[in-house]
C-alpha cells in the first residue's frame, strides 16, 4: 500500500534539475513549441547551449484510448485507432483488425489482404513524408516540408477515393473490406508509384549531400545497437543502428512473405543513418505496392463471409432474413470472440505497433493494450541528448518520429 499521507518520494535527478546551479539554465521546451511535434514537453537543463539533462514529459494528449477500447465493442474501436497515430491511420487500423481476426480465428480473403498491404504501405509513405517534411523543417530546410506535403496529398487522394476520408480513414474492418474497391483506384495507385520515385530524388537532391544537412545530422544522436535493443526501440530507430528487425520479415503477416523487398540498415546509428533508412524504406514501399498490384486478384470477395464475427454484406442484409438478423445482432450487440488473449504486431511506419487484447468472451475487450512504437522510441531521447546542443534536440525529436497522439494514446 502506498501511504498517501507521506510526501511523494522525489527522484534525485529531478532535484538536480529543479535547482540548477548558477551556471545552468532550465529551459522548458513545449508543450507549446513549434518543433516538439504536437504537445511534447521537454525539460532541458542547459549550460550555455549544451544540454546537460533532458527530460521528456508526456501526457498532454492523453485521451485514454486504451480505456475507451475496454468500454467499446470490438468493431466500434476501429475509428479510435485512427486517432492514435493520425498520420498513418490505415496502419493502426490494420494492427487492430489483424489482432481481432487472430483472436477470432478468421482471415480476410486474399484480395482484401493485398489491398490492406497496399493501403498500409501507402500509409507508411504518408507518415514518412510527414516525418521528412517536419524533420527537415526543424533542421531549417524550409522547402522540403512543402514538397513532401504536396506529394502526401496524392496519397490522401487515394485514401479519399478508397474510403471517403483523408486523415482518420477508419478504412479497415474486421474481416476485410465491406465496400468494393473503386474501379479506377488501381490505376491511381500505379500512377502514384510511377511519379513518386522522382519526388524522392527531389528530396534527396535537397538534403542527402547537402553539407549543412550532413553537419547537422552526422554523428548526432548516436544509438549503439545494444543500447537500441535495450531500450526496446523498433522501426527506423533500431534499423538505423544496424539491427535487422522488421516485423514484416521477422513475423510476416498479410502476404509480406510473397513480395520481395529489402530492409535497409544503417551503420552508425546517428540521425543521418535513420534519415537514409527511412528514405530507402519509401523506395521499398513503392516496390511492395507495385508487386501487390501485380498479384492482387481483380475480383473476388473482399470480406470474410459466413462468420459470426463479420458484418454480413449489405446486399444480403437487404434480401435474406438470416443475414438481416445477423446484421441486427452484430450492430446492436456486437460479437463475442472466444476467451483468450492475443498479441499481434505490425510494422508501422514508426516501428512495431502491437495490439494486445484480452477477451473474456464478452462483446467488449477485457483489456486492450496498444504497444505504440513512438512511445517506446521516445525513451531514447535523454540518452541521445547527452552532451548535445540545444539545436540538436529538435533534430533528435524529429529523428525519433513521434506523433503525440500515439505516444500518449
Amino acid at each position: 500500500m502506498i501511504d498517501f499521507s507521506q510526501p511523494t518520494p522525489v527522484i534525485l535527478s529531478e532535484v538536480r534539475q529543479l535547482t540548477p546551479t548558477r551556471r545552468e539554465l532550465v529551459l522548458n521546451m513545449g508543450p507549446q513549441h513549434p518543433s516538439t511535434h504536437g504537445v511534447l514537453r521537454v525539460r532541458l537543463t542547459l549550460e550555455g547551449e549544451t544540454v546537460i539533462a533532458c527530460d521528456p514529459v508526456i501526457g498532454y494528449l492523453h485521451r485514454g484510448v486504451e480505456k475507451l477500447g475496454e468500454s467499446h465493442r470490438y468493431a466500434q474501436f476501429v475509428p479510435w485507432t485512427d486517432r492514435t497515430d493520425y498520420v498513418a491511420a490505415p496502419s493502426n487500423n490494420l494492427g487492430y483488425v489483424l489482432a481481432v481476426e487472430k483472436l477470432c480465428g478468421i482471415q480476410a480473403p486474399e484480395r482484401a489482404q493485398y489491398w490492406r498491404m497496399i493501403m498500409a504501405e501507402l500509409a507508411r509513405l504518408a507518415s514518412h513524408l510527414v516525418w521528412l517534411g517536419t524533420h527537415a523543417l526543424d533542421i531549417g530546410a524550409l522547402s522540403v516540408s512543402l514538397y513532401t506535403f504536396r506529394d502526401r496529398e496524392l496519397i490522401l487522394d487515394i485514401f479519399e477515393k478508397f474510403c471517403g476520408a483523408r486523415l482518420t480513414t477508419n478504412m479497415m474492418e474486421i474481416g476485410g473490406f465491406s465496400r468494393e474497391i473503386p474501379p479506377d483506384l488501381p490505376e491511381m495507385v500505379r500512377e502514384f508509384c510511377r511519379y513518386f520515385p522522382k519526388a524522392i530524388r527531389q528530396y534527396e537532391d535537397l538534403l542527402t549531400e547537402n553539407p549543412i544537412w550532413l553537419a547537422r545530422t552526422k554523428g548526432v544522436g548516436i544509438i549503439e545497437p545494444d543500447v537500441a535493443i535495450n531500450y526496446g526501440l523498433t522501426g527506423a530507430c533500431l534499423r538505423g543502428s544496424g539491427v535487422n528487425y522488421d516485423v514484416r520479415k521477422a513475423m510476416p503477416y498479410l502476404f509480406y512473405d510473397r513480395v520481395e523487398f529489402d530492409v535497409p540498415l544503417g551503420t552508425h546509428g546517428d540521425v543521418y543513418d535513420r534519415y537514409l533508412v527511412r528514405i530507402e524504406e519509401m523506395r521499398q514501399s513503392i516496390r511492395i505496392i507495385e508487386q501487390c498490384l501485380e498479384q492482387v486478384p481483380t475480383d473476388g470477395p473482399l470480406m470474410a463471409y459466413e462468420s459470426q464475427y463479420v458484418i454480413p454484406p449489405h446486399k444480403n442484409v437487404m434480401t435474406t432474413a438470416e443475414d438481416m438478423q445477423r446484421h441486427f445482432i452484430w450492430v446492436i450487440k456486437g460479437f463475442s470472440p472466444p476467451k483468450g488473449e492475443v498479441y499481434h504486431a505490425v510494422e508501422h511506419s514508426k516501428g512495431e505497433l502491437g495490439y494486445y487484447i484480452v477477451s473474456d468472451g464478452s462483446p467488449i475487450p477485457y483489456r486492450l493494450r496498444i504497444r505504440s512504437p513512438d512511445f517506446v522510441n521516445l525513451q531514447s531521447l535523454p540518452y541521445m541528448a547527452q552532451g548535445a546542443m540545444l539545436a540538436d534536440i529538435v533534430a533528435l525529436i524529429g529523428t525519433i518520429d513521434i506523433v503525440l497522439g500515439s505516444v500518449d494514446r
Partner: protein, 341 residues
Amino acid sequence: MDWQRLLVSYFVGFVLLNVLLGLMAYMTWFERRVLARMQHRVGPNRTGPFGLLQPIADGIKLLAKEDIVPANADRLVFLVAPLLSFALAPLGAAVIPFGETLHLFGLEIPLLVADINVAVLYVLALGSIGVYGIILGGYASGNRYSLLGALRSTAQVISYELVLGLSLVGVFILAGSLSLQDILREQQRALVIGPLTLPNWYILSQPLAFALFLIAAVAETNRAPFDLPEAETELVAGYFTEYSGFRFSFYFLAEYINMIVVSLLAATLFLGGIDGPFVDGVWWLALKALFFLFFYVWLRATLPRFRYDQLMGLAWKVLLPLALLNIGLTGLVRLWGIGAL
C-alpha cells in the same frame, strides 16, 4: 553656402529614407512571392493585383495590434530596444552613391547623403551598434528563449563582423581608399587583360573577398542559413519572442532594411554599383541589389540551418583564415605591382 549643401543633403536623405522604407515593405512582398514560387505555393495574391497591397495590409494590421509588455520584462529597455534596431538600420544607406552628381537649378546635388572618407568603416560600425537592439531586446524580455537568441546573436555578429571587415580589406588595398565614392570611381575604369576589356569590378580581382563578404553579410543580417538568433524551430522566435504589434514590426523592418543596405553595399563594393553597360545609373545598382536580395530568398528556400557551434567554427576556423590569406595575397600583389591589378 554651407547651409545650402546641408539642406540638399537633408533633402536627399529624406527622399532616400522614404524610398528605402517603401522598398523594404515591398521586399517582404518580394520574398513571400519568390519563396512561394520556389515551394510550389502561390503566395499573397488576394490583396490587390499580384498581392501588391499585401505589405500595406500587413502594416495596418501590425500597427493596430496590441503592444504587449510582459510582466517580468525590463520595461524601459524592452520598449526602447526595437527603436534602436530600427533607427540604426537605414543609416547605412547614407553613404551609398546612387549616381553621378546632379546639376539642377544651379545647385550641385550629389546623389548620396554623405561622402565620408571612412564610409565602409561607418557601415560596419552601424552594424555593430545595431546588435544592441537585439541584445537589449532579448535580455529585457524576461524570456529564456529571448535570452538565448540574444546571446547567439551577440556571438554571431561579433564573429561575422570580423570576417566582414577583413574581407573588405582587400578591396581597400586595391582602391586605396575607404570612401565608397573612390571605390566606385576605381571600378568604373576599364580593366584590360590582353584582348579582353572588362569592367574593373572588384568581384573579378577579389573573388574570394566577394564570397567571404557574401557569407558574412548573410550571417550579419541573421538570415538563413545563419538565422540562429531567431531560429523558430529551436528558440520559438529568438530575441523577439515576446514582441508584438509595431514593436515586433520594428525588428522585422530593421532586418529587411539591413538586407537591402547590405545588398546595396555588396553591389557597390564588388559589382561596380551604378556602373554598367549602356548608361550608368541607379537602375544598375537596383538590378544588382535585387540579385542579392533574390539570393537571400533563394538561400532561405534551399538550405538547412547551421548549429551554433558549427556557425562559430565556420567563422573562426574557415572564413577568418581565408580572409587573412586574401589580405596577404592582395597585399603582396599590390606591393610588387603585378599585372593590371
